[in-house]
């Protein structure tokens, strides 16, 4: 975080004219912000060293599968359209919990695909294609 703050400030100072207080350039505000962030990074990091760490409780499986499902959705959406993308998303997401039930998820995909087409395409007229072929 300290690093990010310093980088933000540095970038602002190097790339944009800071100007004077009277005529502030586009770099002034970000530069100050970057400095403040670095200060707060120190404020947070220092006490953290003196404290006993408690476990973070990071859960890899849901994290990975949720990310993959969204990524896959975007990928399939561009190439095959919305309905296949929904199927892909639901099946990937199902693996976030152990022991997915494939039949249940198939039913859920069908239900979601129908409601999504009804709400987004017919209801709101969002320009998105249910099916397409563009690989």
């Amino acid at each position: 975080m300290i690093a990010v703050g310093l980088w933000f400030m540095n970038h602002a100072m190097e790339s944009y004219s800071i100007g004077t207080l009277r005529r502030m350039g586009p770099g002034f505000f970000p530069a100050v912000l970057g400095g403040l962030i670095a200060v707060f990074g120190v404020l947070i990091a220092l006490p953290a060293f003196f404290r006993e760490g408690d476990p973070l409780g990071f859960e890899g499986r849901p994290f990975l599968m949720v990310c993959i499902s969204i990524g896959v959705f975007a990928f399939v959406l561009e190439r095959l359209g919305m309905v296949p993308a929904i199927f892909a998303l639901v099946f990937c997401a199902a693996f976030a919990k152990p022991g997915p039930n494939l039949i249940e998820n198939l039913a859920l995909s069908v239900f979601l695909a129908i409601s999504a087409v009804a709400v987004f395409i017919w209801g709101l007229g969002i320009p998105i294609q249910a099916f397409r072929w563009n690989i």
């Binding site: 790339s15 586009p26 707060f40 007229g125």
Partner: protein
């Protein structure tokens, strides 16, 4: 009375078929997500933000606001029946609501909370109606210096008074401000922090940030946390079981009014929202009670007061948002974002320039609250059934709505990847116990703050003392400094006694 004429005008707006329908959708969805644990008003409103591009601004705001106060009603249902708060602000309701349910008085608990919510909400609306126009008039005299100082106060208040460590809160606000800098500089047209990516020249997409932080992050965190469990089916909620005894009534009115008072006050302050109001109201009630030992074992006061408070707060929270353009919490920040997207400039001129939005919204609050009573009392059985939808069906649906929603903003898969990045970011923030809400506030207020700061400096010819020499601005700065000092004090105290720092 001029107010009545304006209100009448508001009702004319709100009673159009389209607005009524969206108001209903809003409160319905609000109750729905309020009842369901694991998804709250923030995630829902950010999911529905893209839909607001397709309807007029008044209608959109009516719907989004309906979700917001609808969750306050729905949240108590899960608290009482399952000891699982549907929303953070109804966490206190569990303390006495669940014991009531265990002793076979779930019906009474649901009835009194709905009634208290309705009356608390109504009083909140009256306060909103009476105070907003005059406050907006005062605010018209504000110059850029006052605006900057006021926003500073709002951000500092939001970050120091929220749950969790104030230092982390302020750091989150700063991070939000930095994110707000991305894009084209308004005054010079220079591209900042875009790294030549054309999609970033308009800045980060608000919808992508909000959905990533509150939607995706929340889903990742809840997948394993929320156990699918059955709602308490032992007792049927019938109308007969809802009738409170005379003893209940005698414990109803005063706690309700006190809760409303506490809620209205904290709701109207920038930075403190419904959750803090509910906790404060419970604390007040317990302190002044002659029999504090009854609390936690099913005391009627312990459910009535916090529920009245969080509903009153959810209405008065609109005061700073609509009159000053300063959001009190993250939900209000999203509402402001929705206004800006719809091309409506929030601020003191909103009431005079867009009376249909202000008065229509106020009138829709009345309609929405009446609808909510209908939804929550006779139809309570339906919500109880809904509590049984397992989360393994829910979270893929949420992810789908997020993905399609963010795509529809610009018809661009780039935004879906942005959601992904912010989702990962949001999840790690949650793991490290940073509150994402102040970040969103900072993101929305950042560009406005920078603009006002530069304008103030331009007007004062580079004289930075302008913030302390103008009385209103000086007052804001004074309160801000006091809050910061308090935060530093709390941080030091927390270091000596780490148990407090939670």
């Amino acid at each position: 009375m001029e107010v009545f004429g304006d209100l009448l005008f508001g009702f004319q707006t709100a009673f159009s078929l389209q607005n009524l329908m969206y108001c209903f959708i809003g409160v319905f969805l609000g109750t729905f997500v309020g009842v369901l644990p694991g998804i709250g008003a923030l995630a829902t409103i950010s999911m529905l933000l893209p839909l607001t591009f397709y309807v007029p601004p008044t209608t959109a705001l009516i719907m989004l606001a309906g979700i917001y106060y609808g969750t306050q009603y729905g949240g108590s249902t899960a608290s009482i029946l399952m000891n699982l708060p549907g929303t953070p602000s109804s966490a206190v309701t569990c303390l006495d609501g669940y014991p009531m349910s265990n002793s076979g008085r779930a019906g009474v608990a649901l009835f009194v909370t709905t009634l208290a919510s309705f009356i608390g909400g109504s009083i909140g609306i009256v306060i909103l109606t009476l105070f907003s126009p005059s406050l907006a008039e005062v605010a018209l005299a504000f110059g850029p210096a006052e605006y900057f100082a006021m926003m500073l106060l709002g951000l500092v208040a939001a970050s120091t008074l929220s749950q969790g460590s104030p230092v982390k809160g302020i750091a989150m606000v700063l991070a939000g401000l930095c994110l707000g800098m991305v894009g084209t500089d308004v005054q010079t047209g220079q591209q900042r922090y875009t790294f030549g990516i054309p999609e970033l020249s308009d800045g980060f997409n608000l919808v992508a940030i909000a959905m990533g932080l509150f939607g995706v992050g929340e889903v990742i965190a809840s997948v394993n946390k929320i156990r699918d469990q059955k709602a308490d089916q032992r007792q049927k909620i019938t109308f007969r079981s809802m009738v409170p005894t005379r003893d209940d009534w005698s414990r109803f009115w005063w706690p309700m009014l006190r809760g409303t008072g506490v809620g209205s006050f904290f709701g109207a302050l920038p930075g403190t929202g419904t959750t803090i109001s509910a906790f404060m109201a419970y604390a007040v009630e317990k302190k002044i009670s002659k029999t504090p030992e009854r609390f936690g074992k099913g005391a009627v006061e312990g459910v009535v007061s916090p529920e009245a408070a969080n509903n009153a707060a959810s209405q008065t929270a609109f005061i700073p948002t609509l009159t000053l353009g300063i959001p009190g919490d993250a939900v209000m920040a999203l509402m402001l974002g929705a206004m800006i997207i719809a091309g409506v400039q929030p601020g003191p001129r909103l009431i005079t320039e867009h009376p249909e939005i202000f008065w229509g919204l106020v009138a829709s609050f009345w309609i929405g609250n009446v609808l909510l009573v209908i939804l929550n009392l006779p139809l309570i059985g339906m919500w109880v059934k809904l509590l049984q939808i397992p989360y393994r069906f829910l979270f893929p649906s949420i992810l789908m709505f997020i993905a399609i929603g963010v795509f529809s903003v610009n018809n661009n898969t780039f935004d879906i990847f942005m959601v992904l990045i912010f989702g990962v970011f949001g999840y790690f923030l949650m793991l490290l116990r940073f509150e994402p809400a102040p970040l969103l506030l900072g993101y929305i207020l950042g560009p406005l703050m920078e603009e006002h700061l530069r304008r103030a400096m331009l007007l004062s010819r580079g004289d930075a003392t302008v913030f302390v020499t103008r009385p209103i601005s000086a007052a804001f700065i004074f309160v801000t400094t006091a809050l910061l000092l308090w935060a530093i004090y709390a941080a030091i105290k927390g270091k000596i006694n780490p148990k407090i720092d939670d």
